[in-house]
Symmetry: C2
Subunit: 405 residues, 2 copies
């Protein structure tokens, strides 16, 4: 039997642990006798059609382990979505390179790409195992308890809001932090992990799972300011009104779209600025500050969940094992076991492809502007070990002077 | 001799290590026999005039050590600047509480407050030691080699750009990160520490020490994109044109000012968005993303330089010792010694107060859009131990197929 050449690539927005999955595939491949060349395509499917490949089989384990702990797709990424002509070009290269297994690490758009390639292989009778390996900071893959990339991004968001809340407690006013996640609020919701005491922020959390009403938002901010003298708010970039229109569209800006039809919400501070201006104008508050957490959420060096690292490595290894067991198509899922462990079944691509999981109602408070304790029970074990604990200086006030003269 | 009551407060924008200095004062005070009550004023001078004090003498060492590693002013902060009436109200409380030593932890605005209080004490013959303890992420205090708070913020900026550069390398396009610092470019310049290889970003660095010319900026971005297929840019929030007008003012927005006359530049993503729009419109590039690093730079939990922590503690301890030695007015400075150490002379308040240090010409590249190796020699020892090293996947491309079909 000829050895099987394999091809691995990365698609969509990178994460802090996406290279763990890449290295998981490559090192696991070395444990199987039937594997020949291990190719990496640069910039996802774009690198396949361009025959722009690197030889991962020749990389030292030392280099790979260093790459594994480096954020952002080491092979490069793309948001290209193959159509029929694109698919034909992919198969030209797969044939020429005698590829028998294709691994694509990405989110729901990338899993749709795997589905398209897998169906094309079947249609033309080309023998190809197509395995999707999950990653997304949005945590929005169907069929998964959670998704590699999310725990590290969630840890970043929690630490960002923990610090922003302390900063706001020192100088007061209103602080708005805008968090990534166009349809799913999981990452925004992770801001809740910043809280240690009842008066800690974020005091309000707005998720894309609930329609955003500007009047109610202003009333809720005002109520918190009246109660605490300050307010910290976590807002998803994907908030929209009851008609599904993005709040950002209220700016009247033409919103750019990518090849998958997704509106560009990230890479601009416009939503935070819009909300701050509303608060200043309508509530008459002066110190109102907005941050957009931006690309740091998925790429910041030095903020990673060790749980996430382990699981991201495991889904890469499992993908390779499933391919060697003769599975021809599927997506590796992450399901939680009792305790802190996880298991990784192979689920149908159709379960994941181009579908979006959003937060369960049980995770969202009745108010619509907070999470539930059940969500924190879900989230906290994912954030990993070694989180820095903060401490407020909670001391009694010195008694007033007898005669304040 | 009656014991001396002391008062400590924090002013201006918080940092990751400002509480180290607070705890340095409080714990050092416990080593001196002549000290009575140790008061903390909440929210800086505002807390003094309101007689809003806490008893730091009653805080346990365990609590204080936890507070020391927590970012953002634990006592609360303010940007109030005392005028004559405000000063009179301060002295009412100082007299009533029999305060003999006043410690104020802050930047150049706060040191000006210390100068005003100190001169008022002399004018009215009130015996008061007034010691300014330095902190600022901007690193803009005269008479100092560097300032507590800067190394940790610089580490955050370096790690943010290291990750953003990897993300940009994966998906290409142009990335602009806007960094705090209204007049001094030190923090923006710290982005240069993200680089490991010649083609790593940030590829361009724009500092407030040089006039910003939009045409030159666009040409420089275009040149990098032509060379590398991508470009990462670090921009100071304080960039201004040759007439000194903030580039942000080109938006035509009314810019808010604080009590010290400073224009509000932070807490908005407007500058990044403005620059991104220019690049899209004028260079015809599609994937252009802007982040504004915002308050995370000074408050993010879990990103701190251990060098910074040690020095921030030391300036608090030294301030207390100077006061006990009978020094009545001054600012504790940080000067570098051979090796990695520092020493902390007491310098005149007038050296620091309301003055702004900017980057030496020797730290800025002749191009005006980068730093020099001398700046990196200055910066790198401050960033502390335990920085995460990243690794790009640098592998040779697989040779093209003999017949490409």
């Amino acid at each position: 039997m000829n050895p099987i050449n394999i091809l691995v690539a990365q698609g969509g927005g990178p994460t802090a642990v996406i290279n763990q999955s890449l290295v998981g595939v490559v090192l696991e491949a070395r444990r199987h006798a039937g594997i020949g060349a291990v190719y990496g395509a640069r910039h996802g499917v774009k690198g396949i059609v361009r025959d722009d490949l690197v030889d991962l089989g020749g990389a030292s384990a030392e280099l790979l382990e260093q790459v594994a702990t480096t954020p952002a797709a080491a092979l490069g990424s793309t948001r290209d979505k193959p159509d029929a002509a694109y698919c034909a070009a992919i198969f030209d290269v797969l044939r020429a390179r005698a590829i028998g297994q294709f691994f694509y690490i990405g989110g729901n758009d990338s899993s749709d790409t795997v589905r398209i390639v897998s169906e094309a292989a079947q249609a033309q009778g080309y023998p190809l195992s197509c395995i999707h390996i999950p990653k997304t900071i949005d945590n929005d893959l169907m069929g998964n308890d959670h998704t590699p990339g999310y725990p590290s991004a969630a840890r970043f968001v929690a630490q960002a809001f923990a610090g922003a809340d302390l900063d706001n407690a020192a100088l007061h006013g209103v602080y708005i932090g805008v968090v990534m996640g166009r349809h799913a609020g999981f990452l925004t919701a992770a801001a809740a992990a910043a809280r240690q005491h009842p008066d800690d922020g974020p005091h309000l959390i707005y998720l894309p799972e609930r329609a955003f009403d500007t009047e109610r938002f202003l009333a809720e901010v005002q109520a918190v300011v009246q109660r605490l003298g300050r307010c910290v708010v976590a807002v998803s970039e994907g908030i929209h009104d009851a008609d599904g229109q993005p709040i950002l569209a209220q700016l009247g800006k033409a919103l750019a779209r990518d090849a998958h039809g997704n509106v560009q919400l990230s890479g601009t501070g416009a939503l935070a600025d819009l909300l701050c201006e509303q608060i200043k104008a309508r509530l008459g508050l002066s110190r109102v500050r907005g941050d957009t957490l931006g690309y740091l959420q998925r790429s910041f060096v030095g903020c990673v969940s060790d749980v996430d690292q382990r699981e991201a490595r495991a889904v890469g290894e499992q993908a390779m094992r499933y391919a060697m067991q003769g599975h021809v198509a599927g997506s590796v899922a992450v399901l939680r076991t009792e305790g802190l462990g996880a298991h990784y079944p192979l689920i149908p691509l159709a379960t994941v492809a181009a579908r979006t999981r959003t937060m369960d109602d049980a995770f969202i408070a009745a108010s619509g502007s907070d999470v539930t304790p059940a969500f924190l029970d879900y989230l906290l074990p994912l954030l990993g070990s070694g989180r820095v604990q903060t401490q407020r200086l909670r001391l009694p006030a010195v008694a007033p002077r007898a005669s304040a003269g």
